[in-house]
């Protein structure tokens, strides 16, 4: 982080200590053996602790029960928590779901939802995509106006944390474009289908069969597609922060291993070919850090020049995707056989990495978007 304010430094240290002490990777391993089905990859206690420290309300204004630390603040916490693969829904609930209500909700809507999300009482999930590949320009889920309210019909696929969410932010096509709707999970017509992904985290598909919602369910303060794009950019930047935490930790673990493993009567960290690979990897992670931090800063500074922030976000997600992909591959390779075993943590980083790489657009998607925004 370029230069942190004192408050940010404290936040970061706190999150780092907490992750090391309360949420080491062994916690995730334990969780993986435990909760199944729609509860998979969720630990109420961990969630409670994180909410207790105010992290579920980092984006929420103080007046609504949050701490208003902004995207840089949220990024710091999630980066630290992701270092140890903390399984927490905050990446979506406290991130883009809060953003959606903040950017698209009027005052009553904000008062209705944000305090409960900030306290951790409600968990929200973001339901945009309808297939295995990110494609926000092809939303087929439909919202039809009826009786002073809305009727939603459609299918949402691979919704992270949807199994344990109380609330969904759903993208649906209206006559005017694509709108975002707040859908309580208990609404009639909502069905969940468990998705067991390689990262053993929480994920589900959502079926919406004529779900009836009041007019107040619609977040309409910003015109349709625009709101969707803004919310997605926030989802991407926050995911990139988690990816940064994972990449730097995967690198550290690998570096430590190289310094202890002996072959040919020598610590293998002494082999020049490995030294040069690690040096390059280190440089890549430094570049990744700069890209991710710049995106978070741009979102905090956001004042209308949306394309500029959008470009930085696409760059961050693309660079984060490529770098994390490389780091996790090298992590397994440089560990050799032990890295292939389930007993070792390397596999966890590898598996979770690919899910985050895919979330809300992979590197290829964001390279294309970056170029389009640049006019080529």
């Amino acid at each position: 982080m370029a230069v942190l304010t004192e408050e940010q430094s404290i936040l970061k240290d706190m999150a780092g200590h907490w992750a090391d002490e309360q949420s080491p990777v062994s916690e995730f391993r334990r969780l993986r053996e435990g909760a199944t089905g729609l509860q998979r990859g969720f630990c109420a206690e961990t969630h409670g602790q994180m909410a207790g420290m105010g992290w579920s309300g980092i984006l929420v204004p103080e007046a609504l029960g949050g701490s208003a630390f902004g995207y840089v603040g949220l990024g710091l916490v999630l980066e630290q928590a992701a270092r140890t693969l903390t399984a927490s829904p905050l990446m979506v609930s406290a991130g883009p779901c809060v953003s959606a209500v903040l950017l698209g909700g009027n005052e009553p809507q904000q008062r209705q939802w944000l305090p409960a999300i900030a306290s951790g009482e409600l968990i929200a999930a973001l339901a945009i995509d309808e297939g295995p590949r990110h494609n926000p320009t092809e939303i087929r889920c439909e919202a039809v106006a009826c009786d002073g309210g809305w009727r939603l019909t459609g299918y949402k696929a691979f919704v992270m944390e949807a199994g344990i969410a109380d609330l969904l932010i759903v993208a649906a096509r209206t006559k005017e474009g694509v709108g975002l709707f707040v859908v309580p999970m208990g609404s009639a017509g909502v069905t969940r289908h468990d998705r067991y992904l390689v990262d053993s985290r929480n994920c589900a598909d959502i079926e919406l069969q004529g779900v009836l919602l009041p007019e107040s369910a619609r977040l309409a303060q910003m015109p349709g597609d625009k709101l969707l794009q803004r919310v997605l950019d926030r989802a991407r930047a926050v995911a990139a922060a988690e990816m940064l935490g994972m990449a730097s930790q995967a690198f550290s673990i690998t570096l430590d291993y190289l310094k202890t493993r002996e072959q040919f009567d020598e610590i293998i960290a002494r082999f020049q070919a490995l030294q040069h690979r690690m040096a390059q990897l280190y440089s890549e992670i430094e570049l990744m850090r700069s890209a991710v931090e710049a995106a978070l800063v741009a979102l905090d500074d956001y004042s209308g020049d949306a394309d500029d922030a959008a470009m930085l976000v696409s760059m961050a997600k693309a660079v984060a995707g490529d770098t994390l992909n490389l780091v996790t591959r090298e992590m397994v390779q440089l560990h050799g056989g032990i890295g292939m075993t389930d007993e070792h943590d390397a596999g966890f980083y590898l598996k979770r990495a690919r899910v985050l790489e895919n979330a809300w657009g992979n590197a290829a998607f964001h390279r294309d978007r970056f170029a389009r925004l640049s006019g080529y």
Partner: protein, 399 residues
């Protein structure tokens, strides 16, 4: 000369039609299309009666290892004839049921280094697929630096007493025998190693499967505690096992590189990508970034196959065997690149672990992706192969 050629051709055609006929008579149709790459990973499962029958038939014919000497259970055929068998099997969707480490690694090694008595005892069951062999080389402290192995084989007159721990014993839990490198002299490194055949049912052998990140457990840790191994199971001279082991690893590399034929039946990467992504109006894959990387990959695959063919043709003329290091590395790179690109094409569908919502192929893709991370590690890691290339082929000594 033209007459001789014609005769040769006639004989070849005759041979092909014999092979075709025999396969038609013996291959159980129910097995058509079985025996893919993934099945090879999970070898634990018992054979169906049809599969059993097919194995016996091929074993009796010696066609599982057609170029091996008939006196030890092969068919004494030449390479062209072996290729004909391969082609005719592929033609009807049949597979070669004789495989495993015995065929790929131990058999050729025994034929080269073992005593007549050892060959007569151990090679025929390999040719019939009756005995499963596993490899006892790696140890927790001896991976890339294999010669650092510590498993002791103490000379006790008529037998060796083996103590120690092996790891990455492939298929240890369902193997009958193990070929192992053991230490018979602690005062020297490479020159203190012997090559030993160990019956896995001997008292004192204990096997613990290692669970991999892919969820499968094709490897084991194997513990030897006061295991008695008869002296007659020593292959080659005492303390001369390193050269035998190295030679065996060369066979392993050649096999691991995937050769040029395997996988021909798999859909091409571009087909998979087209299925999941579709084409744009211009007829290009609807993800140009991925498309360009797929093109590079498909060119790499094609160049690799051509190179493998070239190496094989060279080898027939006595060319460099060290090319196996290049093939091993490029083969590993291709396997892993293909898996990553497949996953990327499938999006979240390539990241399923189990349960509904994923096709069998999709779930298999995920597992193969994870499993594939091993191919640049085992059989001499990519780093070790690079050392070999630099030193043996390029003569960049030292380091």
């Amino acid at each position: 000369m033209t007459a001789a050629l014609d005769e040769k051709q006639l004989a070849a055609e005759e041979f092909r039609s014999q092979v075709r006929q025999w396969i038609e008579q013996n291959f159980p149709v129910s097995l058509k299309g079985k025996g893919n790459a993934f099945a090879a990973i999970e070898e634990g499962a018992a054979l169906s009666p049809e599969a059993q029958q097919w194995q016996v038939a091929m074993g009796e014919k010696g066609w599982g290892v057609p170029t091996w000497p008939a006196e030890y259970g092969g068919a004494s055929l030449n390479r062209q004839q072996a290729l004909v068998i391969e082609e005719e099997l592929a033609r009807v969707g049949a597979y070669n049921p004789i495989g495993g480490m015995g065929v790929m690694m131990l058999g050729p090694t025994l034929l080269e280094f073992a005593s007549e008595k050892q060959k007569r005892r151990h090679v025929p069951p390999i040719c019939r697929g009756e005995i499963r062999w596993c490899q006892g080389f790696s140890e927790p402290g001896a991976g890339s630096d294999l010669a650092a192995l510590k498993t002791r084989a103490e000379d006790c007159g008529d037998h060796f007493l083996v103590n120690g721990q092996k790891t990455w014993t492939s298929g240890g839990q369902w193997s009958d025998w193990c070929f192992a490198l053991v230490r018979t002299d602690t005062s020297r490194k490479h020159e203190g190693i012997s090559f030993l055949l160990i019956d896995m049912r001997s008292p004192g052998v204990e096997v613990r499967p290692i669970q991999l990140i892919s969820g499968a457990s094709p490897f084991c840790e194997t513990f030897f505690t006061d295991v008695k191994v008869p002296k007659e199971n020593l292959v080659g001279e005492l303390n001369c096992g390193w050269a035998i082991g190295k030679r065996l690893l060369q066979h392993e590399r050649t096999n691991l590189s995937g050769g040029s034929r395997r996988g021909a039946a798999m859909p091409s990467l571009s087909q998979i990508a087209k299925h999941y992504i579709g084409l744009d109006e211009g007829g290009r894959l609807n993800d140009v970034d991925l498309r360009q990387r797929i093109i590079r990959h498909e060119m790499l695959v094609k160049s690799f196959r051509l190179t493998a063919d070239r190496v094989m043709a060279d080898a027939r003329q006595g060319g460099v065997a060290t090319a196996s290091s290049i093939l091993k590395n490029v083969g590993a790179r291709i396997t892993q690149e293909r898996a990553e690109l497949t996953l990327e094409s499938m999006g979240m569908k390539g990241l399923g672990w189990q349960g509904e919502g994923f096709s069998e192929q999709e779930l298999a893709a995920t597992r193969l992706w994870l499993w594939g991370k091993a191919v640049s590690i085992y059989g001499g890691s990519t780093e070790i192969q690079n050392n070999v290339i630099a030193k043996r082929i390029l003569g960049m000594e030292g380091g």
